[in-house]
């Protein structure tokens, strides 16, 4: 479907698709097999100006918005979501600075992220604080003009590979979620270490590690916003980044459809291509319809969010939920269409189905997305006693 993208957006789409085709597809199976970090591809993306799509021009970016970023993520995801998460996680790490950084912090860090010279990462999750981000145990204690951090972050995408980290830690545990604060850390700071690289079911080329803080002393000027704002920084960051995960879902689903459709046209059973069998056609029809619906919701949500509305938690949660559930279903069906071949590692849909699962889990499980949507919905209807259509 034609979404009437601007000339610039089409340029981003075509270049991202070219990178996916020429630089990602030829190596994705090997990177997955070896669990190898896609450094070369990140360099290509950096040289192509992709890391700065959503960053204002005054900080070295391209001055686009969430839609521009999601267009690139979608195309990369058609080829490999381990690659696209590595790319997108830099944006996740960047948003706290972009949204809450002082001019000085922005000038210092954003150009490095926009140019792709430094990858960024976001550290929120802990062994005992996943969906319940209020349970964070990492502490940051003020000491003169420093903060001293202690604790462990878990499952951090780009952990160990990124140079710039935005991390949530408790400055006042007695205040619960309101006692959390956000900080900027750099790789190489004393007392800042990394745990082992995790072994995962999918997105195996991406790096997932623990961040370990042992009396890690950082300058007080690395505090983002004010003390106590950490939870809000985290929630607003996730609102901004959720469409990126949806874009991964849309791209991945499309990649799986591409594989399954080509296969169905060439696989002959009972004397004709299986694509001529209604059972297969109906599966492909559902896969395509669901993916197009997800894409439509994605682009509409991105455009809405780029118009700077006051609140978009519900919309961001809906698109993440819908597009990633779609990706799981579509990749599973792609394997089914391809039968035994689909289950084999020689064909890419096996990896696609393994990769898809994480989309329903990270950046808020899809159950948490439903919580967000439900809560917003209840708020919207508070005080309404009649179902009168307005606007």
């Amino acid at each position: 479907m034609d979404y009437f993208l601007t000339e610039e957006q089409l340029m981003i789409r075509d270049l991202a698709a070219q990178i996916a085709r020429e630089k990602v597809i030829p190596v994705r199976a090997e990177l997955d097999e070896k669990e190898e970090f896609p450094s070369e591809i990140m360099k290509v993306l950096a040289d192509s100006d992709m890391f700065g799509l959503y960053i204002p021009e005054e900080y070295g970016g391209m001055g686009g918005g969430i839609l521009e970023n999601c267009i690139a993520i979608e195309q990369l995801s058609r080829a490999c979501i381990a690659v696209s998460v590595t790319f997108a996680a830099s944006g996740l790490g960047c948003y706290p600075i972009l949204l809450y950084g002082t001019e000085e912090q922005k000038k210092k860090y954003l150009p490095r992220i926009a140019s792709g010279k430094s990858l960024a990462a976001f550290g929120l999750t802990e062994p005992n604080a996943g969906s319940d981000a209020g349970g964070i145990q990492t502490t940051a204690v003020k000491d003169g003009d420093s903060y001293i951090l202690n604790g462990t972050k878990q499952w951090i995408t780009n952990g160990g590979e990124a140079d710039i980290y935005t991390v949530i830690a408790m400055t006042d545990r007695s205040r619960g979620a309101r006692g959390a604060s956000a900080f900027i850390l750099e790789k190489g700071m004393e007392g800042f270490k990394f745990g082992k690289k995790e072994k995962k079911m999918g997105i195996r080329a991406s790096a997932t590690r623990e961040l370990i803080f042992e009396d890690c002393r950082i300058p007080a000027r690395n505090l983002l916003s004010r003390e106590g704002m950490g939870f809000i920084v985290a929630m607003k960051t996730l609102d901004k980044s959720r469409p990126g995960i949806a874009a991964q879902g849309v791209g991945l689903a499309q990649g799986a459809i591409d594989e399954a459709a080509v296969y169905a046209k060439t696989r002959i059973q009972f004397g004709k291509p299986i694509a001529a069998q209604q059972a297969i056609q109906h599966m492909l029809a559902d896969m395509t319809t669901q993916t197009e619906a997800a894409r439509s919701l994605l682009y509409a949500t991105c455009k809405f969010m780029d118009s700077n509305p006051k609140n978009f938690s519900k919309e961001a949660a809906m698109v993440k939920l819908f597009a990633t559930d779609t990706a799981m279903k579509v990749t599973t069906d792609a394997v089914q269409v391809m039968g035994g071949y689909g289950y084999m590692r020689e064909y890419p849909v096996e990896k696609m189905m393994r990769d898809a699962k994480i989309l329903q889990i990270y950046e808020g499980t899809n159950q948490i997305q439903r919580n967000v949507i439900g809560l917003e919905l209840v708020k919207e209807y508070t005080g309404k006693t009649e179902a009168v259509p307005v606007g």
Binding site: E7, E8, L15, Q18, E22, D47, S48, D49, M50, M62
Partner: protein
């Protein structure tokens, strides 16, 4: 250093047909691409600019739509481009083409180095690069696989040969043609693409490059294509029959007769 890269827009070889009447390529309806060997020439020029400073100018002779090829390559990091286009250029062979490009290079002025791909994938002649050098009376090297050093008006380079490579020193200004072993072409950047979209590309006609009309287009092209055909592939072989020993004797005597070992 001022570098000019000569590039050519060619039909995508995946879908080429020949007009049986005129024996020329049918270009209508065939998608156009940048001659793949020229990508290496452009990449090398940009790398030379990164190493030694200077500017990279793209040059092509072709119909107005060849501008698309120039824009595609500008997005990789070339500074600007010139399209040399005139109806009188139609039907140019390699002699007329190299004369035309040489005249354009003269008009550009103060050029230190001209880079070309080793050949174009449509005609496969590999004659235009050396033809330009001949017209300009400049030094020339074909099949360059590495530029080692440039300094004091001299460049050191490696020329790929069937049995190894030659190490050459040639004075500047010079024309070289490059092989794909020389580098790995980069992908464009978004900033490059946006810049390329906006750049003005001047179009020079025959008069503006001060060319002699007699040496242009069909009148300047002595090449006559009498016939184009696909050579028939003939498989010649014989399967030996009989006792194994007799077969071996036959085989040995045939090998001796044909003098192939």
């Amino acid at each position: 250093m001022k570098i000019v890269v000569c590039i050519k827009q060619v039909p995508d070889v995946a879908d080429v047909r020949i007009d049986p009447e005129t024996n020329t390529l049918i270009r209508e309806g065939v998608p156009s691409i940048v001659n793949p060997f020229d990508m290496y020439a452009v990449e090398e020029a940009i790398r030379l600019k990164e190493r030694f400073g200077g500017e990279v100018k793209l040059l092509t002779m072709g119909p107005p739509q060849a501008e698309a090829a120039l824009r595609e390559l500008l997005s990789l990091g070339a500074d600007d481009a010139v399209l040399v286009s005139d109806r009188t250029f139609a039907g140019s062979d390699t002699l007329a083409t190299s004369y035309t490009l040489a005249m354009a290079i003269r008009k550009i002025g103060d050029v230190d180095l001209v880079l070309c791909g080793k050949q174009a994938i449509d005609g496969d002649t590999a004659q235009v690069g050396p033809g330009i050098a001949e017209n300009l009376h400049w030094g020339f090297a074909a099949y360059v696989r590495k530029i080692e050093e440039i300094g004091d008006g001299v460049m050191r380079l490696e020329r790929l040969m069937d049995d190894g490579y030659d190490l050459l020193r040639i004075p500047l200004p010079a024309v070289i043609t490059v092989v794909k072993e020389i580098n790995e072409p980069r992908l464009p950047s978004l900033k490059g693409k946006m810049k390329a979209k906006k750049l003005e590309i001047p179009v020079w006609n025959a008069e503006e490059i001060g060319a002699d009309p007699e040496r242009l287009g069909l009148s300047g092209s002595p090449t006559k294509v009498s016939k184009i055909f696909t050579p028939e592939f003939r498989r010649k072989g014989e399967i030996l029959q009989g006792e194994a020993e007799a077969q071996v004797d036959r085989l040995v005597s045939e090998i001796e007769r044909l003098n192939i070992v």
